[in-house]
Symmetry: C3
Subunit: 461 residues, 3 copies
């Protein structure tokens, strides 16, 4: 064993170089948008100043942004603390790569989605979009959790954010697809990208760390903090960048019902697939969230609560069955070691969400949407509206996303395979001690020593 | 010991049947309301479209909804994790029955509160109301925590949600009562319903599980996550469905002061009732919240910060004294085994809140409220306004609630006593292992093995 | 050893007396402001009633308030749970002194900032300001954590809140300083006040409790809950009381970028200063937040994302270096025992924030701000505007704050040194057992007993 995992120079150098590059690019390219610039605040003279202020997009997007922010940092971060001795890395590396990714995403998304006289405009909407892109990276992180160094993760984020922005541009701007909650752009992309990376990084001797690749009682409770926050705020996630008014309201409502139905399916199938009828924390922590993924595309459409609940129920079902029957096969046959089971939480439910979105788009009609049609489907305004072709474009978007994710993951995987990033040895995967100062054991007897009534009696007498 | 607690068929069957029924009923009966329907968005031509969008109820209710949602899933869920080996069940069953109840409540509340041409209309207000109803079920869950199977809990939720909706209809629609924060409809109802259920389910030999019916150090910290979230967001809870503008603002303010005063009372009396002057986590986790319960009815009225603080101080005091002196008596004399002490947190403070609401109503006058009188007391508009009669109706509402809760709890308790639900044996109450796959012990020595400087030195050399 | 730490009478007496005084003063002095008073709701006849309601300050401030509230109670509370056996006290005493301070701050800030016909007006803005003042007390708490009784902490809060209000009045009202996010009023003041208190309370024999003055694995994870919530909601903190519209929006945006850059600096320098290149949880938990502190003054100005990122990067760097190199020196040379290292998280970054604010003010011009100049710098309206003098006043404000904090901490420290408050002995610092009923040890073997497949098989057969 050698010092190959020592981060003393590698991590600081990479972090500092990246941040300096970010700062320089931000200095050259980024400026406040009209809603955040002091000079623009009263440019629009058609309203009184006060009216303008109250209609600042801040008040209509920022609460959603904060919910999304909680999902990214607490939700993803704590969901991955289920591993018994990888809690520092789960929440810590999640923190690091998210903080980097949201800055890099601001630039990449700004580049491809159109600059304003050579400048990238930022405000609460760009903050939400950057957090969304970050979510995609964190999904991929779930596949390689415990088997990668922080340097590898940052390098992965550089490439994944870039490709995410390109894929998003193709889908939203070139194909005119709808995907407000990111079933395709975020979940399908992040999942298949990550699965391909972990396939390339396949470790035949990972069973040497098998005893650490599991949870303990309290680590499962920490993970539930992540699960519950993701579950509660998913309505905000899916609705965060929809159009104002009824589309945003409807998206939140649909997601709420999908998640509720998904939760019942998860508990049902978790008990059903267990020989003793016992519930499995892995399913509850993950599959109960699949309902949010699966309405990420159709949530803003007239899916109805009825439709949302059917989709959610299906998503929970396939997710639990995936954890039980598919994940072992993926590992043994396809050599895909998926630590968090992202294929079950983001992969299959993401594809389901894309299909549901395509079908719901194909069924859209003025009879159902009225004048709201243009607000949900932007190209309905152009007169070229045709529900069937819209459904087709949605399906093409899914195919493009899968292609981009698999290709991107393949290339990135090979880059990450270079032996220069300090990846953990097979014997020390899923172990905080490699990259963190880990405190000693709890001195339980001493805690008790003072806590027992006898001891305290002496102390107080 | 036999397989009576095996959930393999019972839980999946019940979950799937319930969800299928829910989906069918939602398909037949539920539709988007005007603020969530694509077709309605610009129906009101008196405003410009933009104006309409900014005034969508989503923007004025959704942040409150999310705070309430956090209270239901994180607040209630983690508050109950104080038990040393019942954390999975506390947060997990809380999750399950809440996800079911909010769907069932949408239907039940829709039925009784008035349908629109045979349809139940949904939007953010129905989401808040469904979460409120769910809160009531979770309060009852606190009384039977550790002694019931998930199947029993779902059956309890079916009945409790239904009766909640009926009671709420009688109070709010027939008696014209005020109860925005639910001192009566949520807390008093949930508490006395749950206490009656646990009375009927009395276990004379529960002391066989006594060693598990207590906390450990870290489980108390997990419970504090629940406590603090409930405490922080209670202002949002009480104000979530009040009228727009000053009533909502005032309710949040009153609740904030009531809780602050309650917290000082809780710490004071917790130390005072302990022989060694030590604080008890049970009190801090629960009694500090009683101030939110106790202003659930009067919070929207002109209670003043002064009045709110007096009410909060009283609530904290009676709650601590209840835990110390009343709970043991309830168990030994009345055979009421109240795991979380909901009588002290929701029962007595709920009744106090109802009384405070009746008195504050009886003292209301145009001199204090001005034109705001009609906005707080809906029937003030009808000309039949009479503060004394209003106070009387509030008092009648409390009596009706107590009657409904005790009767409903009695019937439900006997239904839950049937030996078909897989209830835990007396020897295995408060034990996750019955219904959950529980991971093995933490391998503390190995964690240390890698973490010690010596070990790592070897690894890195 | 005697009963000197017994809280049975001291704590209840102090809590009850304080709360009674608070209630009396609130009864005499506090009333609803125009946005919370039922009578005022439609006083302004120039708008329709509905318009008024939608423009209630509640809807533009309350979501920010709730984020701030989470930072105060969850953020500060859990951040300090890193100590292995001081979790109850960290989150519990944080809860107690915050609940007291926010009431006391409402009065003190109301007094000095101007009463309305002898009355203090309250609403969501006063709630935010009271929470801000509370934050300052909690910062000082971090310096003395583990070494003070709850009675001492309440006494400290009485004095610190009072001086905070005076200092805030001098800065904001007399010197016309800008400090929306409180780099000076909250962080610098709270830090140097607390450092002076802990200097006066210096314990030469504190090493007797050294074995408890450190973390264990799970306590570090609990602390990360605090860290992440503080990090996520800091944009809401800095923007909570800025002017409506673009200033609020811009402040949140600047803070978001500053924190992201700060996080990369923190990870970089944490690994760099460790001989083995390992990350230190103390740095991640604390230094990653310094970016929020350091843009507390300039965040509302046209700092630009570029400027914010530079400030954040610097703040993270000096904070990590402070933990590594300065804290040991402060203890050994200056006898300042700073449990949480508040000098590194709030002290130095607060001073940096003040300097950045002074420089950014001095560079402000109509060319950059347009008509927005008056909205950011209130005195620009008076015609006496002069950027250089403004920068000078900002610098004077920092000096005043440092003076007030050091003087106030000195006096308060000596008051807290009186031997009447039940301070812990040197041998029992950092120990919950002194002031709390602490539960016994976890019975790990029994948990396992039921959880092992063999056991459960027997149970189920």
């Amino acid at each position: 064993m050698n010092s190959s995992t020592n981060m003393r120079l590698r991590l600081p150098l990479l972090c500092i170089i990246l941040e300096v590059i970010l700062i320089i690019l931000f200095g050259a390219l980024v400026e406040y948008n009209d809603d955040t610039h002091a000079k623009m605040w009263n440019a629009n003279k058609s309203h009184s100043a006060t009216r303008d202020d109250y209609e600042n997009e801040f008040y209509y997007r920022y609460p959603s942004f904060q919910d999304v922010h909680v999902m990214i940092f607490v939700g993803f971060g704590f969901l991955m603390t289920f591993l018994q001795r990888y809690g520092f890395s789960s929440v810590g590396f999640n923190f690091l790569i998210a903080a980097f990714s949201l800055q890099w995403a601001t630039l990449m998304q700004g580049f491809v989605h159109g600059m304003h006289h050579g400048k990238i405009h930022v405000g609460v909407t760009s903050m939400i979009n950057a957090d969304f892109c970050t979510g995609s990276v964190l999904i991929s992180f779930g596949a390689v959790l415990g088997k990668t160094s922080p340097v590898q993760l940052l390098v992965m984020a550089i490439f994944e954010v870039t490709l995410f922005a390109v894929n998003e541009f193709i889908l939203l701007s070139m194909l005119g697809a709808n995907d407000a909650g990111g079933s395709m752009t975020i979940h399908t992309f992040g999942a298949y990208f990550g699965l391909m990376v972990t396939r390339v990084l396949y470790r035949p001797n990972l069973d040497k760390s098998k005893h650490r690749n599991s949870s303990v009682y309290h680590s499962d409770l920490f993970a539930m903090i992540g699960t519950i926050y993701l579950w509660m705020f998913w309505p905000s996630f899916n609705s965060a960048i929809t159009n104002y008014g009824d589309p945003q309201h409807r998206t939140a409502l649909n997601t709420y019902y999908s998640l509720a139905a998904c939760t019942l399916a998860t508990f049902a199938f978790s008990a059903l697939v267990n020989p003793e009828g016992k519930l499995d924390m892995v399913h509850i922590q993950n599959a109960a969230l699949a309902g949010g993924v699966a309405v990420g595309t159709a949530g803003e459409m007239m899916l109805t609560p009825f439709g949302s609940m059917i989709v959610g129920f299906l998503a929970g079902t396939i997710s639990v069955l995936g954890y039980k029957y598919l994940t072992p096969v993926l590992e043994s046959k396809l050599k895909i070691q998926d630590t968090c089971g992202i294929h079950n939480l983001h992969g299959m439910p993401g594809v389901l969400g894309a299909v549901v979105g395509a079908v719901t788009s194909a069924l859209a009609s003025p009879g159902v949407y009225g004048h709201g049609l243009q607000r949900v489907f932007a190209d309905a305004e152009t007169g070229k509206w045709n529900p069937q072709s819209r459904g087709g474009f949605q399906a093409i978007s899914l195919a493009v996303t899968l292609g981009m994710a698999l290709f991107g993951g393949l290339v990135t995987g090979f880059i990450l395979k270079l032996p220069i990033y300090g990846a953990p040895p097979d014997t020390h995967c899923f172990e905080d001690g490699l990259y963190w100062e880990v405190p000693g054991e709890e001195e339980g007897h001493e805690l008790n020593e003072v806590a027992t009534p006898n001891e305290m009696e002496k102390l107080n007498s």
